[in-house]
């Protein structure tokens, strides 16, 4: 009945499946690079946040609130149009997307690393220091390896969040799968087929990484 005058034509997708895969790769890559940067920023910021000195903890706290409080979409256009305009740097859309994901992600990773660092027993730091390890070596050899186990599952979930979030970069014309689908929608008017394809690819990617996080979590718990 209502279906009658819309005949599904999946050839729009099947003829171009390699383009969809290439687009999905772009999403994945932007998410991976953004996540790696978010982890580096987050770890540094978490160390400041747990340093105990107010000149570090207060800005680190405010940083987290701002990064987590601003929508990713706003962050993307702020970096791509706003910041670029002010500092006179022309980011490519790809760079802007990575920076926005790294900034937003770092708000979340900071809190994850902070919780991980706090969860390591204080006695570990005292013991390592009393046997003569320097502060830096205590962190790299004693505290961080233990904190690592605690942070892996929530970091995995942050990555999944960033992967989902990466799809928004189509709005600044990064040629990802959503951008491709938008183009095909306009040129061929096959919205249902192309957006279903995008949705299915995203679901498959997210479920794959969710399963991975789940397995990793179980493994780390039993170890």
């Amino acid at each position: 009945m209502i279906f009658l005058d819309y005949t599904l034509d999946w050839s729009v997708v099947t003829d171009r499946w390699h383009q969809f895969v290439a687009g999905a790769w772009v999403d994945l890559w932007v998410a991976v690079i953004g996540f790696a940067l978010a982890c580096a920023l987050g770890l540094g910021n978490a160390l400041l946040r747990t340093s105990g000195a107010r000149i570090f903890t207060v800005p680190a706290f405010l940083y987290v609130q701002v990064m987590r409080g601003v929508p990713l979409y706003v962050m993307v256009v702020w970096v791509y149009f706003g910041i670029a305009n002010v500092i006179g740097v022309n980011f490519t859309a790809f760079q802007a997307a990575v920076i926005a994901l790294a900034l937003t992600g770092s708000g979340y990773t900071t809190e994850i690393f902070r919780a991980g660092l706090n969860a390591v027993d204080k006695g570990q730091m005292e013991a390592a220091r009393s046997i003569g390890l320097s502060r830096a070596r205590t962190y790299t050899h004693v505290i961080l390896p233990q904190a690592f186990r605690i942070v892996v599952p929530p970091l995995g979930n942050t990555f999944i969040g960033l992967l989902k979030g990466a799809t928004i970069m189509a709005v600044i014309a990064v040629p990802d799968m959503v951008f491709l689908a938008n183009e095909l929608n306009v040129t061929l008017f096959r919205p249902f087929e192309v957006f279903t394809a995008v949705a299915v690819i995203l679901i498959v990617m997210v479920l794959f990484f969710s399963a991975l996080v789940y397995l990793l979590e179980r493994r780390l718990r039993t170890a």
Partner: protein, 226 residues
């Protein structure tokens, strides 16, 4: 770096000139967020109950949660506003499409919050209620849910902050929300930095207010536990 900053002359005067637009947009954003949170609270609870039913019905709930959580709001909106609309010849207005998308996504998240809260209730509560002669529905409505609700509320309110932030994406299909108004003003004045910084600030304030509310509620609801 300083030199780079100096070449840009800021013009913040465009912001006060645009207050009326921000107000209109803010009202739409708040409306979308409130409608979505109300619908997701109800749908999320239903999904949690389905998910906790033993047997194949529970599996349906499980699949709903896994699949509906796995999409980004942007993909949801495109799929509903263009895809579903074309097939079923539905003429969604952008706000409706946005509320549907936000509800589907967040009901999946919220159902997991409800489930965790319901499972946190001591089974002895249920057994005691049943042995007093309450039916299974009566037990849930009068004994289990009122306790689970207290546990769930802070996380549910936090979910509300995500709804507010995600709602900015409805601007892309033309819902006249806060972000849409901002983008319009950006094209009018060509002042992306000033406008996007301001709108980031407004979202931040909204999110902080709601997060404060969550902390406040948490303290209040768990007063009896201290």
């Amino acid at each position: 770096m300083t030199a780079l900053f100096l070449t840009y002359s800021y013009d913040w005067s465009v912001i006060p000139k645009s207050i009326a637009f921000f107000e209109i947009g803010l009202a739409v954003t708040v409306r979308i967020a409130l409608l979505s949170v109300a619908f997701s609270l109800v749908l999320g609870l239903l999904v949690a109950l389905v998910r906790m039913t033993p047997g194949p019905i529970g599996v349906i709930g499980f699949i709903y949660v896994q699949v509906f959580r796995a999409l980004s709001l942007y993909v949801y909106i495109l799929f509903i506003y263009f895809g579903i609309a074309a097939v079923f010849h539905l003429d969604f207005d952008p706000i409706t499409a946005g509320v549907i998308a936000l509800t589907l996504l967040n009901s999946a998240y919220m159902s997991e919050i409800y489930r965790a809260a319901i499972q946190a209730i001591d089974p002895g509560q249920r057994e005691a209620a049943r042995s007093l002669g309450l039916g299974s529905i009566g037990t849930f409505v009068n004994v289990v849910f009122p306790q689970a609700w207290r546990i769930a509320i802070p996380s549910l309110v936090n979910q509300f902050t995500d709804i507010i932030k995600d709602s900015s994406i409805v601007a892309l299909i033309g819902a006249p929300d806060l972000m849409y108004q901002t983008t319009e003003r950006v094209s009018f004045y060509q002042r992306p930095f000033e406008f996007y910084t301001t709108v980031a600030g407004i979202y931040l304030v909204l999110v902080v207010i709601v997060a404060q509310l969550a902390t406040h509620l948490e303290k209040r609801l768990q007063r009896h536990l201290v």
